[in-house]
């Protein structure tokens, strides 16, 4: 029986062989984080569900395009990200998601697991996330939800590593400010 316990033990090889139960496990593993990511970008429940479903179907059909089995997660998020962009372009054909500043800044040390938020800060955290521009939000979500590396986030969003670094720096700085200001 196939089990999903850690990221490294995902049944990607079995999925490549076309085993539906392997795909079921992979989808189960990613359905919630993928939905959370898509929803935070498009902000529509039905559209988000549609995008998740299309992402799953595309992944099952084009698994041959995945070069490294260990990169399955970032590959899947990459498909979903492209679908979010397509949706965005459909809604705003003449607009491009705003991207204010892309400075080359040093990365802040705190990893996705090191940042802890108290219950009373949760609403503030979500509000802060909402205030970020979509490109910044995408980077923060990918970092905090799946702990993707800078290279992986750059691959998913189709941007330079320097850009990802600066976006993450900007967002983490804002989050740190929140946590410091709300210290008891």
């Amino acid at each position: 029986m196939l089990l999903v316990s850690e990221r490294e033990q995902l049944p990607v090889r079995e999925a490549r062989a076309g085993k539906p139960e392997a795909w079921d496990l992979l989808f189960k593993r990613y359905q919630l984080p993928l939905y959370a990511y898509v929803f935070e970008l498009v902000r529509q429940e039905q559209t988000s569900l549609d995008i998740v479903q299309e992402t799953f179907i595309n992944a099952a059909r084009h698994i041959g395009g995945l070069r490294d089995d260990d990169k399955f997660g970032s590959w899947l998020f990459g498909i979903a990200h492209q679908k979010c962009l397509q949706h965005w372009r459909k809604l705003h054909p003449e607009q491009v998601p705003i991207d204010p500043e892309d400075e080359d800044l040093p990365e802040l040390d705190a990893g996705p697991e090191e940042m802890l938020i108290r219950k009373e800060q949760e609403e503030e955290f979500m509000r802060l996330l909402d205030e970020l521009t979509p490109p910044h939000r995408a980077v923060v979500l990918l970092h905090f939800m799946e702990g993707f590396s800078l290279e992986e986030i750059a691959g998913i969003t189709g941007t330079q590593i320097g850009t990802v670094k600066s976006r993450l720096h900007y967002a983490k700085k804002a989050l740190k400010k929140l946590l410091v200001n709300n210290k008891p």
Partner: protein, 145 residues
């Protein structure tokens, strides 16, 4: 204390049942014969022509089904618009006005000229050649002058 991941996932946990349905739909679409230990759609077996047709359908038709439907609708409209004419080409010659009398006269004149030119040219009457008379007669004429 929670990590940002926990906060984000908890926020969307209520979508769980809907996501389960989405997962099942995706599996059923990607693996139509999953209940019979099927192969993925990307590795469909069968004759070569069937596989090619399947790939074409999946890669060419399905992703742009809206465009194909639009094209089909346009062709339908064209067909419907074409129906009243019975599919026959319109007779343009019948609808033109009768030619002008002057034009007809000029044409007739030109035709006559053409006929004249094309007729074989009658040989002109030959000029009677005078056969010289006897030499003695010629000499007499000279002496008289």
């Amino acid at each position: 204390m929670k990590t940002p991941r926990e906060i984000l996932l908890n926020r969307h946990r209520s979508a769980g049942p809907k996501l389960d349905a989405v997962r099942k739909t995706a599996l059923a679409t990607a693996f139509p014969r999953a209940g019979h230990n099927a192969e993925p759609t990307a590795q469909i077996s069968g004759p070569f022509a069937l596989r090619v047709a399947h790939v074409l359908w999946r890669e060419l038709i399905l992703p742009c089904r809206g465009i194909w439907a639009g094209l089909a609708a346009i062709w339908l409209v064209i067909l419907v618009l074409n129906l009243p004419s019975g599919g026959k080409p319109m007779r343009l010659a019948g609808s033109t006005s009768p030619p002008d009398q002057q034009v007809l006269a000029v044409l007739r004149e030109q035709r006559e000229m053409l006929t004249q030119f094309s007729e074989p040219i009658a040989p002109s009457p030959a000029i009677p050649t005078r056969t010289p008379g006897p030499r003695s007669e010629l000499l007499q004429t000279t002496t008289l002058v």
